[in-house]
Each structure stands twice: as structure tokens, then as C-alpha cells.
């Protein structure tokens, strides 16, 4: 069985400070991991993904994430938050060897304080 846990439902940071959104997963097979962002009243957009290549993945808008198999984590980070980063963020796990499983985390709402 597979699952994904986003440890924080809400995260608040000040503009210009680092962002950390946490994601842990469990998977019986080799996982692919994704981070998607959803701005208010919009669809989801891919930030970055891990599919078995480099464990440190760089995405759009300065975000990056590191796949740590030993910790079963795929935390999302950004060195300096911008007001436009305020959104809902979803961690997603899929199974590369079985294409019928897609599990979304419950989401983390990122608030940026001026």
C-alpha cells in the first residue's frame, strides 16, 4: 500500500524567509513523487517531480525538493518566500511500476506574511 502525509495543514512565513513544506510517503514499490501548487480558484500546476534520476530536484519559481529514501521524505523548500507563493501545495505519490495508483496528500496552505 502507499500513502502520502503532508505534516502541516498550514504554514506561515514572512516574505523573504525560507519555506519548508514537509511530505512523507510510504510505498511498496519505487515511487515517483510530485509537488503541485494550486493558487486560489485555479487548477493545479506542477512545481517539480522526482522519477528516479537525481535526488535533488529543482522546479519552477525557485522551489526544490530532495528525495530521501532513508527518511521516506520529499520536502519542498525555497530559500526566500515571495508574496506570490501564497497558495495550496500538494505532494503526490505514484507508483512507477504500477500505473493505476495516484495518491494526493491533503495539502498545505502556505501563507506569506508581509
Amino acid at each position: 500500500a502507499q500513502s502520502v502525509t503532508q505534516l502541516d495543514s498550514h504554514v506561515s512565513v514572512s516574505e523573504g524567509t525560507p519555506v519548508l513544506l514537509r511530505c512523507n510517503y510510504s510505498s511498496s514499490y519505487s515511487p515517483s513523487l510530485f509537488w503541485y501548487v494550486q493558487h486560489p480558484n485555479k487548477g493545479l500546476q506542477l512545481l517539480l517531480k522526482y522519477t528516479s534520476a537525481a535526488t535533488l530536484v529543482k522546479g519552477i519559481n525557485g522551489f526544490e525538493a530532495e528525495f530521501k529514501k532513508s527518511e521516506t521524505s520529499f520536502h519542498l523548500t525555497k530559500p526566500s518566500a515571495h508574496m506570490s507563493d501564497a497558495a495550496e501545495y500538494f505532494c503526490v505519490v505514484t507508483l512507477r511500476n504500477r500505473d493505476d495508483k495516484i495518491i494526493f496528500g491533503k495539502g498545505t496552505r502556505l501563507h506569506i506574511l508581509p
Binding site: 485555479k42 487548477g43 500505473d99 491533503k106 495539502g107
Partner: protein, 114 residues
């Protein structure tokens, strides 16, 4: 040009009615999806089609029936609508199977059942 489009954007209807939501993608992708996002922003996959073949069929009421007339279209028909069906429904597409490929999301259809 919109990559993944959905119609209608808003749908307000009475309990017991039957309604359809349409989705079209112009990306040349082989796989399409339907997701339901509830009021707490929780996203759950409902169905997925690859080359018009159903590959993901999660546990949803059989009042929900997807139809894929061709690779570029995936429609969702809902019979006997219930209050609990109120949600935002997102369509998405990906080049290949979900294990590796990025999903591109439509803007969503907000369904309100009165």
C-alpha cells in the same frame, strides 16, 4: 490556447438531476483524468483513461460515469445528483501513464447541488 479546458466552469443544479461536465485537451496526450476536490481542498482521483481505455476506476458511486469518445475528450456524467456531490471537479491529462508523466490540470468545474 487553453491546454485543458472544462465546461461549464460553474454548475448549479437541484438534487436528483442528471448533469454532465465536459473536458477537452489539445496537448496530444494519451491519458486523461477526473478528480474531485471537496470543501477541505482534499483531492481524490476518480477515473483515468489511457487511449480511451479505463485504467483507474476508484471507488465512486456508480451514478458517476466517465465517457471518452476519443483521446482528446473525457466527459463525466452524473446521475441523480446528491448534496454530497457538491465539489470542484478537475480534469487533467498527461502524455503517458501517471507513474512518471506530469499531469496538466484544467481550471475546474464548481458543482453546487441544492
Amino acid at each position: 490556447d487553453t491546454a485543458v479546458s472544462q465546461t461549464p466552469k460553474y454548475l448549479v443544479t437541484q438534487m436528483g438531476n442528471d448533469k454532465s461536465i465536459k473536458c477537452e485537451q489539445n496537448l496530444g496526450h494519451d491519458t486523461m483524468y477526473w478528480y474531485k476536490q471537496d470543501s477541505k481542498k482534499f483531492l481524490k482521483i476518480m477515473f483515468s483513461y489511457n487511449n480511451k481505455e479505463l485504467i483507474i476506476n476508484e471507488t465512486v458511486p456508480n451514478r458517476f460515469s466517465p465517457k471518452s469518445p476519443d483521446k482528446a475528450h473525457l466527459n463525466l456524467h452524473i446521475n441523480s445528483l446528491e448534496l454530497g456531490d457538491s465539489a470542484v471537479y478537475f480534469c487533467a491529462s498527461s502524455l503517458g501513464l501517471p507513474g512518471i508523466d506530469t499531469q496538466y490540470f484544467g481550471p475546474g468545474t464548481r458543482l453546487t447541488v441544492l
